[in-house]
């Protein structure tokens, strides 16, 4: 499963409290819509660090990096290669 789909899958099944009519798009705004909040970002962070065996630093924890599935996947790829 590629990175974006893995993140989409996790957010949809582990973080959303209600079923979606349509699947989350790559560029749907996750922070603005409240899907990712202060508790949700912790849950997502644990998933990303465990699934991809990487360390996301405090400096990476800015809303822009988690605003969409695309931006989260970009962050993961950046940390995997650094």
């Amino acid at each position: 499963m590629d990175t974006k789909n893995a993140i989409r899958d996790f957010i949809t099944h582990e973080m959303l409290r209600h079923a979606l009519e349509t699947p989350l798009g790559d560029d749907d705004q996750l922070v603005e819509s409240g899907i990712i909040d202060s508790l949700g970002v912790m849950t997502l962070l644990s998933f990303l660090e465990e699934r991809y065996a990487l360390q996301i630093s405090g400096d990476d924890l800015i809303p822009d990096n988690f605003s969409s599935i695309s931006s989260i996947a970009s962050l993961v790829e950046m940390r995997r290669t650094s």
């Binding site: 202060s38 949700g40 970002v41 912790m42 400096d59 809303p63 822009d64």
Partner: protein, 226 residues
């Protein structure tokens, strides 16, 4: 005195009930923990914004008489004792309430009497000196039953707007770097982050050392309040 006893007793009970007794101890005894002081320029805030839209809550300033009369109930008992203690010490408490229940509360040093500079032991630890017109907010707690419902940001933003209305120019705060939800909330609100401090504590003994400027991305730092 009685408030301190009640506060300590309920904090202990709550920690035991939540299985967090060790956590309570580690709040008093720790070594080399990073804390980030932050500041919000209130003069740039849009006073017309409505942070409570969609929350079904009201934003109030806590009042001793109302708390004594039981008009507002605290699900977290220790917070009621903290309210008594803090108000008697000259702090101002603000809360989100719904149906008489305090869903979250937050404390602030912003004396109504103008001309008084804000002083607090935390500010020494954070290496901050508040000038006139600058307040300090600390110690937010959201009722555990209401966490994950996006109440922290509306509570803090409501405080900012209230302080702005009163003529305050800046408000300082802080978050521990290992407190991810607090870090996230401050970054959502675009606080400006000041040089971090590395803090060691053994109960009342506290040592704090300034650290080099944080390495946030240039775009993010530029968009934060000046």
């Amino acid at each position: 005195m009685l408030e301190n006893v009640g506060l300590s007793f309920h904090l202990l009970l709550e920690s035991i009930a939540e299985g967090k007794l060790i956590h309570l101890f580690h709040q008093q005894v720790f070594r080399s923990r990073l804390i980030t002081p932050v500041v919000m320029d209130l003069t740039v805030l849009d006073p017309a914004q409505d942070p409570l839209r969609g929350t079904e809550c009201s934003f109030i300033e806590l009042d001793l008489d109302q708390i004594r009369a039981g008009i507002y109930s605290f699900a977290v008992k220790s917070r009621r004792f903290k309210a008594f203690r803090n108000i008697r010490r000259g702090m101002r408490g603000f809360a989100l309430v719904k149906d008489g229940r305090v869903l979250g509360d937050l404390w602030c040093l912003a004396p109504r009497e103008k001309g008084r500079r804000v002083q607090h032991p935390d500010l020494d630890m954070l290496k901050i000196i508040c000038a006139e017109g600058e307040a300090y907010a600390q110690d937010m707690l959201i009722d555990p039953a209401y966490r994950g419902k996006n109440l922290a940001v509306p509570l803090l933003r409501s405080l900012h707007l209230e302080l702005k209305k009163e003529g305050w120019r800046k408000v300082y705060g802080c978050f521990w770097d290992d407190n991810i939800p607090a870090m996230w909330m401050h970054r959502m609100l675009k606080f400006k982050e000041l040089p971090k401090c590395r803090v060691s504590r053994f109960f009342r003994w506290i040592r704090s050392e300034s650290q080099p400027q944080p390495g946030l991305s240039a775009d993010y730092a530029e968009n934060c309040s000046q």
